[in-house]
Amino acid sequence: MVSIEINGQKIEAEAGSMLIRAADAAGIYIPRFCYHDKLSIAANCRMCLVEVENAPKPLPACATPITDGMKVETRSELARAAQKSTMEFLLINHPLDCPICDQGGECELQDLAVGYGKDVSRFSEGKRVVFDKNLGSLISTDMTRCIQCTRCVRFGQEIAGIMELGMVNRGEHSEIMTFMGQAVCSEMSGNVIDLCPVGALTSKPFRFKARSWEMQDHDGIAVHDTVGSNVTVQTLRGEVLRVLPRENEDINQEWLSDRDRFSYTAYKSEQRLTTPMLKINGEWKEADWQTALDNVSSKLKKIVDEYGADSIGALASPTATLEEFSLLAKLMRGLGSQNMDYRLRQQDFRADGAMSAPLLGDSIVSLECAKTVLLIGSNIRKEQPVLATRLRKAARKGASISAINSTKFDFAFPLQVNISVSPSSLVATLARLAVIVAAKKKVPTSGTVEDIAESCPANKELEGLADSLIEAGNDGQIIVGSMAQMDGNYSLLVALATIIGNISEVKFGRLEEGNAVAAWQASFLPFADRGTVGKNATEMLNPALKACLLFNIEPSLDCIAGNSALDALRETGMLIHIGCYRSEEIEELAHVMLPLASVFESDGTHVNCEGNMQSWKAAVHPQGEARPGWKILRVLANYLDLDGFNYTSSETVRDEASPLISTTKRTASMDVYAPVLVEQNRLACISHLPLYRIDPFTRRSQPLQQTLDNPPAAAGMHPDTLASMGIDDGITVELANGGGKIDISVYASTSIPLNCILLPTALQETAALGNANWLEVKSRA
């Protein structure tokens, strides 16, 4: 620490750190455009010029390291003159179109021009014009407004990890663009809108919707991933118009994934369910809440009386709120049923008793300091985009990150070891790693683990990985991701990963999508109650229940069984749909539809992968007659004459939820399950969930659906596999398994292991396939 003086004020600052940082810390504002404290220093806008004693000319505060005894003037005559001249230069080519610019009112250039600009421009020559670029469905461009600060370029290079935007040409001709006019495809791309200090990059869905000062800000929490990013929901006249990140250094910093930023565009979809509906003689009739709830409660009671409580069940979306999970769990248990689940895309439930809540095992911030990270069955960039940026930071600090997956994904950070094997070999690879780690730590492993490991010989990669895990110890982190959850051997993958974590003393984390941790905290699980264990998501659909409550899901897309789930629900005597939207399949199957308020219209609580509970208040009134989930469930419980449902606010529901056991359970058990393997002559199916197909909300967000992350449905196979079957790249084939068959085009990709098919789920085009770990391909001549 050295002491310097800024504007006569004595300040202690770290030697070598940049002047602007010390000034910011001391509350002394220096104007800037290109400087951003989360990005590297470019020093190309020159707005932060200040006077430094003994320096012959003004110096840029963002790129001037502090030395002992430095005396700085930020508002002296020289400094002001330099800042004003810079402003004059910046405004030479900047259009005077603030009245029609979306950035107006929240524009750094506009704000600073008031302080440093001239009333009249002396520049009478022609201004330069830069043609707009089409960057896709999320970002709108007005490139003439660009002042070449390169924040967007640096964000891509440094934070998002894929450089898509660049500054091409030179000098007066320089402009920001993508290579050959490609659309940007980063899952974090929306952040460049916030970073842009002018109106060059603005939000396309928000274009010309409102002025920033007209809107009201509401604190919110994003529910699509397990991060719980803090957001500001901006509304005007009772309508949500924009979602922005809200700074929280411990969670999302100031970033937000595109999914959380743009999914609001679906909340006013035409498919919103706005009144309670009853199906009477096959016809949908609008009803008031009283009639609808009366109908539901009397039929539920009748079914419980007639067939017993075990004949009813509830399936909920993983993005429901803690309050909704709590009351739904309490309601089902009140009726005497343990049949409830949110794990709609899981097929292997064998480890239910041994499983602990899907937590990271440490704080999100700690990811940045991890020395070794092992990702298992995770495409973390697309599953938990904000966490991937933390991992990227760790990688930049020298962490060694490795992945064991059934597909080689394009991570935004370099990988030490990137193993991609077929789903059947995945368990063997993990078992082998467990055996190697155990041998190195001189701990015995069970015979079962060794048996499973047999088919995967030890190799240098695994040895190296084991070494780096052991070396990292408590600074290491294992993450089992959402992709593993769809695997037929999930319980085994989790068990083996836990064993590896335990032996190498590395932190173990298991991440799921949405608000899954809240479901655990609310005990919304078939095995959460001591005593009887209820039916899980798969069992509830096979055989069909007598009555089933669907909480904001679309079964053919949200359940891994796809259309086969519909067959079961078709036989369900009483199907109650509580949801935000109506869809054809729901209208065909359900008997009652109750309109649910969306996350913007309801209070709620999200529990993130750290176990961090964050609540929010409704930002707008619900559409039509829709009501917050917790209120619907509370009143329904009253109609059912259940005790203990006299809640008056969402907080009373939340506070009743039992505290989460925040430390992951470390069972020393070596018990593992026998792997389910795909028969030798069959192709293994690798399911993956596209980023923007995760819930009914994102599926209806048009801007997100138009991005490159939502390509047309196609099945990926290794070129050699395709060649061995005599199938050409790009043609349409018939895929079939026990459950059904579909026609789909195939593409070749060397990222996919041999004899496997990578298939996207949650798509209409693939829903007809049943739930199986293998597929048959028939060429359609």
Partner: protein, 163 residues
């Protein structure tokens, strides 16, 4: 225009350049790689920039940034002989304009143009660091200084003899 693809020779030359830099600094070879490409094709297409990016393991936009920053990289086909006439201050004072005019008279083309037979292109460039011999021009890799109409005649007449 036919699509450009890196020849095995060019790839091995680029790989040789890569040896000069640490393994995690492959982007350092981008300028050399673009030079090799340009020597092969006389100009650099977007397709081949993508190839260079893949070879170096860097984003294509990064290659594009570099290729568009330096004016010596060509983005469309140029003639067999690229004549770069310096019009910067020293050459300007010593009659660069007359040189350009004379070249136009002789070849029928001006700066930024290529003769119909694809033989000669003329380019106006900034200082090439040969002010002592102003006015000057560069034909492909060769400098010609103290230019006069006569010497330009000689240079143009002698072009094909270099092949």
């Amino acid at each position: 225009m036919t699509a450009q693809t890196l020849s095995p020779v060019a790839i091995s030359q680029i790989e040789k350049e890569l040896e000069k830099y640490p393994a995690d600094r492959r982007q350092s070879a981008v300028m050399a790689a673009l030079r090799i490409v340009q020597e092969e094709f006389r100009w650099i297409s977007n397709d081949v920039m993508q190839e260079v990016a893949d070879l170096l393991g860097i984003p294509a936009i990064h290659v594009y940034e570099v290729a568009t920053f330096y004016s010596m990289y060509e983005h469309k086909d140029v003639g067999l002989y690229k004549i770069c006439v310096c019009t910067n201050i020293s050459c300007q004072l010593r009659g660069a304009k007359e040189i350009l005019d004379y070249l136009r008279k002789k070849t029928g083309i001006g700066p930024g143009e290529t003769t119909a037979d694809g033989r000669i292109s003329i380019k106006e460039v900034e200082c090439l660091g040969a002010c002592g011999g102003a006015p000057m021009m560069q034909v492909n890799k060769e400098y010609h200084e103290n230019l006069t109409p006569d010497s330009i005649d000689n240079i143009l007449d002698g072009l094909d003899r270099h092949d």
